[in-house]
Symmetry: C2
Subunit: 231 residues, 2 copies
DNA sequence: TTCCGCTAAATTGCTAACAATAGAACAGCG
DNA sequence: CGCTGTTCTATTGTTAGCAATTTAGCGGAA
């Protein structure tokens, strides 16, 4: 009975993870423990463990004596996530080309077909997940699990960032970008694949409204350092 | 009283973290909860939280109903960690050069001086920590905190890997490598700095005894798939 | 009216006793 | 003497109740 404990935590973790990534739980949402206990018919410890795990991934923010909230990445953090993704994924795509097997090629083609089947309609839930799956697939082919786990976290956070900063009006169409990337990959052209990946990631970032480059936080303590308060 | 809870967990976390990184806790060591409760005069929940946090950094492995152990990275994982570090740190060093301020230059020089002051003697505890500090300093200068946190984890795991696979006899002397790196950095020569970083990381890896390239794990289930047991 | 302080409800954090598990010591059998 | 199966102990996992904290609502005073 107790041996299923880790599975239980993982079940809760996955459910919340999915809900956040698929944007059914918007950034800032409060996650009350007793609430989750009811929803998942689990005990509080398991819920707390799951929340703690999610906070490691930066999908959830835990405040002392206040509770857990869906994270709200700042524009600065958003830019960092994209910068990190560019670094990791550009390197990874080269390894992917080197390690690509016949099976992997088929998996790539199959994925692209799946994306086409869904149509260009950015009907959020599936579209978002599928888009991330493509990047995770490439990560798996590249073969570095350590780097892959780090990228997983970045991909998940990207969903949060898009939920927060997506420009509503625009027609989000990163579809042909994946096509282009897959084409370069399958043809084995490293330079083209790397360039395509960089272009793709920059394009996603450009479609967001991340505000001015420097959102310098004003530190009141610094501002008033050495200033005598009047009376 | 309760508001110090996170601090308490962090205190335990840091103590164990330091002990692992400075190789006072060898890989494979069992970390018994009640033991740690005594040592840190803390309660079991805090100890458990700290262990869970450490397991997320891959410094500790938690086995169901068995307890927590200091991680023992496999040669395969070790190679992945170094590959990941090359990817991240090569990219980071370029950003570091771009963002380097006068203050940062002084910090780099000061660090190198500190390394020299310690002498070429690899008297483990301080030497290991100082060596990691240099890489963390460059990470801070580069300015991407997201990437920096990921690198922190890799640097910590590197200590574990060295503890496991260091070739005993060898005179570990990565000293002039940092010198060379700092020189390239301060002169602003990106290409040289990147090359120097790559060389440095490859050199560390080469000094280890990681065994054959492929340590394929034999999966008994796969071996005996579809085989009928006799009688 | 507006601001401040007080009280009460909801929620998180903590504790300590209890249950379940794994590993070791041990006994019985071949 | 070695092997198998069983009890026993140390350790981890779980649970429920209690304590502490935050927040919101209310009421009174300026």
């Amino acid at each position: 009975m107790a041996s299923h404990a880790v599975r239980e935590v993982q079940r809760i973790f996955n459910s919340i993870y999915d809900a956040i990534v698929e944007q059914r739980l918007p950034p800032g949402t409060r996650l009350t423990e007793l609430n989750l206990v009811e929803v998942f018919a689990a005990n509080r410890n398991h819920v707390r463990s799951a929340l703690r795990d999610l906070s490691h991934l930066k999908l959830v923010r835990i405040e002392m004596n206040r509770g857990a909230f869906v994270e709200e990445p700042t524009p600065q953090q958003a830019r960092e996530v994209f910068a990190a993704r560019r670094v990791i994924e550009k390197a990874m795509i080269e390894n992917a080309i080197d390690n690509m097997s016949a099976k992997d090629r088929k998996a790539i083609s199959a994925h692209i077909a799946q994306e086409h089947a869904l149509g260009h309609d950015p009907a959020k839930p599936e579209f978002i997940r599928l888009s991330g799956d493509f990047h995770r697939l490439l990560s798996r082919i590249a073969g570095n699990q350590t780097l892959g786990e780090m990228l997983d976290s970045l991909i998940a956070r990207t969903s949060l960032i898009i939920a927060l900063y997506e420009v509503q009006s625009g027609i989000q169409c990163s579809h042909d970008e994946h096509d282009h990337l897959a084409e370069a990959l399958l043809s084995g052209d490293k330079a083209a694949a790397v360039a395509s990946m960089e272009h793709h990631l920059l394009a996603i970032e450009k479609r967001l409204r991340l505000g001015p480059q420097k959102t310098e936080e004003v530190d009141l303590f610094e501002v008033f350092a050495g200033v005598e308060t009047v009376k």
